[in-house]
């Protein structure tokens, strides 16, 4: 047998049972001679053990009846709202991965358990945006020139202390706002912003919320998207047709300021 040089690649192969048996002894010798590589191997083995341990319990859980029923053809009609909600959880993981691990912990759980409140909020916010942002002359009821009145009026109607966020740093100026229905019998404030190119975004804020959730929602491909947050007692969606990163930046700034205003 000819001696070959091993590399980090072989650590993975050895770990995954892909290293040819006849190379095993030479590999072990190489590992012993390379403490750094050995430490790496030891660590990967430990991480794998932790992963296996964390997931081991799943195999012992009783299979949920609904899964058995699908296979046995006894599946009850599934409510459409419930169907295929799992990807929201996946979405949360992707989104939170960007913000780092610290943000992840609660995110998936809160979104996965969210009912339809988040979809509903996002859909209403998008519908309002599509209807009013396209209006040139009648987009708002109260213009930005009357900002103080706008804020007081909307705060009183919606039942939240609303401070129109300053989005100048993101390139957006307040156009004005209007009052809209929300949910079953609630009210929502819509604040419309415009950038130098005439691109418009809207903030949709309501006190009608009993869920905690957050996410991104697009009613249709190519249409405006909503970045939304729901919390108990208030909910907010930022809607626009901006590139996702830009919409996300604007939304973060707007949400931070709204939250500061509401809790001030």
């Amino acid at each position: 047998m000819t001696r070959r040089d091993f590399s980090e690649r072989d650590i993975h192969m050895a770990l995954d049972g892909e290293l040819p048996g006849e190379e095993r002894m030479a590999y072990d010798a190489w590992l012993e001679a390379n403490p750094e590589m050995k430490a790496k191997s030891t660590r990967y083995i430990a991480d794998r053990a932790a992963m296996r341990a964390a997931l081991a319990g799943v195999m012992d859980e009783p299979v949920p009846a609904r899964l058995r029923q699908v296979v046995l053809g006894e599946a009850p009609a599934k409510a459409s709202a419930w169907r295929s909600r799992w990807w929201l959880s996946a979405a949360a993981a992707v989104m939170l991965a960007v913000g780092g691990l610290g943000g992840y912990v609660a995110g998936v759980d809160s979104i996965a358990r969210g009912g339809d409140g988040d979809d509903q909020l996002a859909e209403q916010a998008i519908a309002a945006h599509v209807t009013y942002a396209a209006e040139k002359r009648h987009a708002v009821e109260v213009p930005a020139s009357d900002k103080d009145h706008l804020q007081t009026w909307l705060s009183n109607r919606v039942g939240l202390k609303l401070v129109a966020p300053d989005l100048a740093a993101e390139g957006f100026e307040l156009v004005g706002g209007r009052l809209l229905p929300a949910g079953e019998q609630g009210k929502a404030a819509m604040l419309l912003y415009e950038d130098a190119k005439g691109e418009r975004i809207s903030l949709y804020v309501t006190a009608e919320s009993s869920e905690t959730s957050k996410g991104t929602y697009a009613a249709e491909a190519g249409g405006p998207a909503a970045v939304y947050w729901l919390d108990k007692g208030y909910a907010c969606a930022v809607v626009g047709s901006l590139p996702p990163e830009r919409l996300s930046d604007v939304a973060k700034s707007a949400y931070g300021q709204l939250l500061a205003g509401i809790s001030s």
Binding site: V63, L67, K214
Partner: protein, 172 residues
């Protein structure tokens, strides 16, 4: 009950484990399994007896998962604010986890979906490189690099977590 259905039933625990590693949340993971089973039953005729039901089902589930992840990515992925410390929710009673389990599951969720799937497929589900590459529909070389990068990313995240814990940074 016919043999095919019995074979599918016996794979459910593994499908659930794989789904849980991909999605973490129990209900979401079971929803993914349910979508997978529904699709499998519609295509029961495509499955040749003698072919491993495990590989067939994992392939279906992986396609469902990756399709959705791509859609999610198109919707814009940077839309989340880091959660406030106070927002953290306790795991439900039936999902009691040790700190070590929680940390590794959190870290697993934070690595890219492609790497997560490749790593879990081999390290947890015990598929060979050839089988996993086949299920994931990628060349073996791609699979290997995803596994290697996945392991490295996971290690980095776990190190970050333990560092953060040891110096007790409270993020506000």
């Amino acid at each position: 009950m016919d043999d095919k259905k019995a074979a599918i039933l016996s794979e459910i625990p593994r499908l659930r484990r794989y789904a849980r590693s991909l999605l973490r949340d129990r209900d979401s993971a079971d929803d993914l399994v349910q979508d997978c089973l529904e699709r499998a039953l519609v295509r029961l005729d495509n499955w040749q007896t003698g072919e491993s039901p495990r590989r067939w089902l994992f392939t279906i589930m992986h396609h469902l998962f990756i399709d959705q992840m791509r859609k999610v990515n198109r919707r814009g992925e940077a839309a989340m604010l880091p959660l406030e410390a106070g927002e953290a929710q306790a795991a439900p009673a039936d999902q009691v986890e040790t700190i070590a389990s929680r940390e590794i599951m959190d870290a697993l969720q934070a690595i890219s979906p492609d790497r997560r799937a490749a790593l879990v497929m081999v390290a947890i589900e015990g598929f060979s490189y050839a089988e996993a590459a086949n299920i994931l529909g990628v060349p073996a070389g791609t699979l290997m690099s995803r596994i290697a990068r996945g392991r490295e990313e996971l290690r980095g995240l776990l190190d970050d977590t333990s560092r953060r814990r040891s110096i007790r940074i409270v993020e506000k």
